[in-house]
């Protein structure tokens, strides 16, 4: 058995350990009110078990990382699969560091599912080792990507603590206008997370079923010399096409639930690489996220925020506020170093310009400016508690857009992958 195969097994082990770790954290906070036990003792015991299990998961994850590195001869951070698995690992590392400072294992209730979702998201992308194009071969690339991901991982922990703060603090029984607005946005955030979960479920379901549909698309572009160029391309779908590519013909189509042709066509202004397919994926993700949300609402018969809220009682909101802030403060210099300074050094070495206003670079700068605004709001304008928590949540959305959205929506030098 070679090292790369072994690393794949280690990755699977890590994934299951994370899942169990999460389950134990849920038992830790949900089991408080079970009979015949001391609530505090129960939380202490189960959160300890959960922490040990998830740390074992991190150990397995580290094993995956280093054996894959040894097996492939290159640091596994070069395609979307490898980068996302690295990000998930970095989140666990950041979580462990924050845990070492505050000894609040319950943060794992939110940090772990985040890790699990990112690991699952990573698995959507092809996991083969791919050779690097020459532009990517540099020590600075390795340093840049890993440091930037670590900084982002701290922002992710800040997000987890911020979301936990919101769920702890937002009052779900109040009926005032501002309370309702808070409730709606908390619910919206949870719904968005479910859309990502829905995406992963849909991808794997149709992949397991082996679904495929094919289109031929006529692409008309006008090049920089003003010449019109037409290319005919084949576009493969791995999910039933609700929307077909712009200006395309059906080649083959397996009917799905009685749907035997696409319902509509992607608009012409969506002109990224495989825009139609990506748009179709987005529709499927939102649909499945909504179905998932609807099912959960049916079972619980109240807003999801109101379901989670009581479980978090007994956790000090001030601690959550401070943890969220601290995680971001710790992550900010790391992010600055990795995503901006090391990136500039690498760009200078590879292309001879330290900054080129490439969309990915711009978004890294936007993330940095956003978090520096956050720090100034907090330090000088006294934005704490709710406002600070919301800023931490929105900040992580920006981080995710920089990491994934830019690659999917905007093409640039960093455009390595996309489903």
């Amino acid at each position: 058995m070679n090292l790369v195969d072994f690393s794949g097994d280690a990755f699977l082990v890590a994934f299951f350990l994370y899942c169990f770790g999460f389950l134990f954290y849920v038992i830790a906070i949900a089991g408080k009110k079970w009979g015949n036990r001391e609530p505090e003792e129960h939380v202490r015991r189960w959160s300890k078990i959960a922490f040990v299990v998830s740390s074992a998961g991190l150990a397995a994850h580290l094993t995956f990382f280093f054996t894959r590195w040894a097996g492939s001869g290159q640091i596994p951070t070069s395609n979307m699969y490898e980068f996302m698995t690295f990000l998930a690992m970095a989140i666990m590392i950041a979580y462990t560091i924050v845990y070492a400072m505050y000894r609040k294992p319950l943060l794992g209730v939110f940090a772990l599912p985040l890790t699990i979702i990112i690991v699952a998201y990573a698995s959507v992308f092809p996991s083969e080792v791919q050779p690097l194009i020459p532009a990517l071969e540099s020590i600075w690339l390795k340093v840049h990507v890993t440091t930037a991901a670590l900084g982002e991982a701290f922002f992710a922990v800040g997000f987890a603590a911020g979301l936990m703060y919101l769920l702890r603090v937002v009052n779900f029984t109040e009926k005032t206008k501002s309370a309702r607005r808070q409730q709606f946005w908390v619910e919206f955030t949870l719904g968005t997370i479910l859309v990502i979960v829905g995406f992963i479920i849909v991808v794997f379901s149709f992949r397991a079923a082996g679904y495929e549909a094919t289109f031929t698309q006529e692409n008309v572009t006008i090049d920089s010399k003003g010449q019109q160029q037409t290319r005919v391309e084949t576009v493969n779908y791995y999910m039933p096409p609700i929307v077909k590519p712009y200006n395309s013909q059906v080649e083959s189509y397996e009917s799905f639930l009685g749907m035997d042709k696409p319902l509509f066509e992607a608009p012409s202004w969506m002109n990224g690489v495989n825009a139609g397919r990506k748009f179709n994926t987005v529709i499927w993700s939102i649909l499945s996220g909504l179905v998932l949300y609807g099912l959960l609402r049916l079972i619980s018969r109240k807003p999801l925020g109101a379901v989670i809220h009581p479980a978090l009682e007994g956790i000090d909101p001030d601690d959550l506020d401070e943890i969220s802030y601290r995680a971001i403060v710790i992550g900010f210099p790391v992010f600055t170093l990795g995503a901006l300074i090391f990136a500039m050094i690498w760009a200078e070495k590879a292309w001879g310009r330290f900054w080129g206003w490439d969309p990915k670079e711009v978004w890294a700068l936007i993330t940095w400016l956003y978090y520096s605004a956050y720090l100034h709001f907090r330090l000088s304008r006294g934005w704490q508690g709710l406002r600070s928590a919301w800023l931490a949540v929105i900040g992580f959305v920006i981080v995710l857009f920089t990491l994934i959205g830019v690659n999917l929506v905007i093409a640039g030098l960093h455009s390595y992958s996309g489903t």
Binding site: M101, Y102, P126, E128, V129, Q130, P131, I133, P134, A135, E137, S138, T221, I222, S224, K225, G226, S268, W269, N271, D316, D318, D319, D321, E322, R326, V329, I330, F332, P333, T336, L337, I341, M344, E348, K349, A350, W351, G352, R353, F354, W357, V362, W363, L365, I366, L369, Y370, S372, A373, H376, R378, L379, S380, R381, G382, Q384, V406, I410, A411
Partner: protein, 558 residues
């Protein structure tokens, strides 16, 4: 307007206008603030900022505008929002050659693209308003920092040890207790415990019943050092617009050619360009069969012109200054000039041929003669024949009127028109067109054009050893940036400042004992959790057990 008497504290200290907490004893100066019991706002220790003046002039008003952190945050937010807009469509500078951007955006992105272009968002990052925003952020950085760092430095330089009760008990971490036994001894032992935790402890002289413990004051300078770094960085970027500080152009060099780098005295020769592709064994399944470049390299020699440099009539005299192999992450560098591998073109390009002239009637062969694509000799004598070069086309084509023309100055489809004189031919010569490349010979039907002359003579190349061509052309990116060292210095300052400010926190503890009544207050700029556990664990060392959480006096945690 604040009046003068408000600024004098009951302890006798004269404070400047705008002071919130007495610089000496720390008592709140404002009457309203003194009545309240809320924790105090400890920002910059309550000292007056430079901008807080009673009679602001115009310059003061500008200063005040930029000294506001609120304004700074607005500037940051506006900057990142506009930066976001700039990423919607590709920027103009991502195209190496875009003659008509207006129609490009409209044709590719429709009406939205047109609006995008008209708003100037297609060159967001070079626009005057975006650069203006950066300059304003720079100004705000300078003024905000100066406005705060000087008063703060003064306040921290001379701190009084015994603070006012209001000051101590309105901190965000507070502890009160009754002390049995000798107060002086208690304070001394607590001071000892704090010393072990790394605090610098100052006892009040004489009484010994008050103390100030302080640690990591240097971290307070972190943000300012970071700001200095950012200012340097911004200045370095602005300095790049000084003529001669920055260059960014492209050159294309075919194998074996020497090309001048425009705007400089340097010439570059590419000896050979090579590209290596991944083999199918090295590629995963979905990439098999694709040409994925593994490594490309230009063997380059850089020359500097030493004389006849600006005289177009004379051949410049070149001197080799550097020889290097340029690969993607390895540019050729010489005195701040950098040549980066940018792209390549594997279309072969003909440099010269050595053809022969065949007399078809006798079978006699004359030559070979040397015929370079550029700057060929105008006359060749071959045995009884004389060839006079009448015309030379680099990329031969027929225009709409059927007349020969050339499409470019690159020898993509070279053609030569000779006037041939010799035995059995017209006195004043007969025209003969010659295409060195076989594909052109067929495409343009050389024999048909030459008519009956084609039956008498032929110019042809015998064997590949008589053909000289460049296999590839390398495209290099030429760059020069003199601001770079300053940029890195700025980045280093910024990083050092960030680390100082983020990973260490300034912590202070004040305490006083009056008739056995202990009042302890503590302040930190970050990490109250750590602050409280410092107080509690030092208390524990001297036998007082408190839960750190109970020290929390409420208030906002910065």
């Amino acid at each position: 307007m604040l009046s003068i008497e408000n600024t004098k504290c009951e302890c006798g200290h004269q404070n400047s206008v705008g002071t919130v907490l007495c610089e000496s004893c720390g008592k709140p100066l404002d009457k309203e603030l003194a009545k309240s019991e809320e924790p105090l706002e400890m920002r910059y220790d309550g000292v007056a900022r430079r901008s807080q003046k009673s009679n602001p002039s115009i310059i003061d008003r500008i200063w005040n505008f930029f000294s506001s952190v609120k304004i700074a945050i607005y500037l940051i937010v506006i900057t990142f929002v506009t930066a976001m807009l700039g990423t919607i469509y590709p920027q103009e500078n991502t195209f190496i050659n875009l003659p008509d951007p207006a129609s490009y955006y409209q044709e590719n992105y429709g009406i939205l693209g047109k609006i995008y272009y008209l708003l100037g968002l297609s060159h967001t990052y070079e626009s005057w308003w975006f650069i203006g925003l950066l300059v304003m952020i720079g100004t705000s950085l300078v003024i905000c920092s100066l406005d705060r760092v000087l008063p703060l430095y003064r306040a921290l330089k001379k701190q009084q040890i015994r603070k006012h009760h209001q000051f101590i008990l309105r901190q965000k971490a507070v502890y009160r207790d009754r002390i049995e036994g000798d107060s002086k001894e208690w304070v001394a032992s607590y001071g000892e415990a704090l010393k072990k935790k790394g605090y610098k402890v100052h006892f009040e002289e004489g009484t010994g019943t008050a103390l100030l413990a302080e640690k990591n004051r240097f971290s307070r300078w972190g943000p300012y050092i970071n700001h200095i770094g950012l200012i340097l960085f911004l200045l370095a970027i602005l300095a790049r617009s000084i003529p001669g500080w920055q260059m960014d152009t492209y050159i294309s060099v075919p194998d074996g050619d020497t090309v001048q780098i425009a705007g400089t005295n340097y010439y570059l020769k590419s000896e050979k360009f090579t590209v290596e592709f991944y083999t199918d064994d090295e590629l995963p399944d979905e990439l098999k069969g694709t040409a994925r470049a593994k490594k490309y390299e230009t063997k380059a020699i850089l020359y500097e012109c030493v004389s006849n440099c600006s005289d177009p009539l004379k051949e410049p005299v070149l001197e080799e200054v550097k020889k290097d192999d340029i690969t993607v992450n390895h540019p050729l560098t010489y005195k701040g000039l950098k040549l980066y591998q940018f792209d390549f073109d594997l279309t072969p390009r003909l440099n010269s041929v050595k053809p022969v002239l065949v007399d078809k009637r006798t079978g006699e062969v004359y030559g070979p003669f040397y015929l370079p694509m550029k700057e060929a000799e105008t006359q060749h004598k071959l045995g009884p024949f004389t060839l006079d070069l009448i015309a030379n086309y680099m990329e031969f084509a027929l225009n709409s009127e059927g007349k020969p023309t050339t499409l470019s100055r690159e020898p993509n489809a070279p053609a030569f028109v000779f006037s041939v004189k010799g035995p059995g031919l017209a006195e004043d010569g007969e025209p003969y067109i010659y295409f060195p490349m076989q594909k052109d010979k067929v495409k343009f039907a050389q024999d048909t054009i030459n008519r009956e002359l084609a039956d008498k003579i032929e110019i042809r190349v015998e064997g590949m050893e008589n053909v000289d061509f460049s296999e590839a052309t390398t495209h290099l990116n030429v760059r020069m940036d003199k601001a770079l060292p300053y940029l890195w210095i700025g980045a280093v300052f910024s990083m050092v400042g960030l680390i100082m400010g983020s990973y260490w926190q300034h912590r202070r503890i004040w305490l006083r004992v009056d008739d056995g009544e202990l009042a302890l207050g503590a302040h930190t700029n970050k990490n109250w959790f750590g602050m409280r556990s410092d107080i509690a664990s030092a208390l524990k060392k001297i036998g007082v057990s408190v839960d750190p959480k109970t020290l929390d006096n409420g208030g906002k945690n910065a």
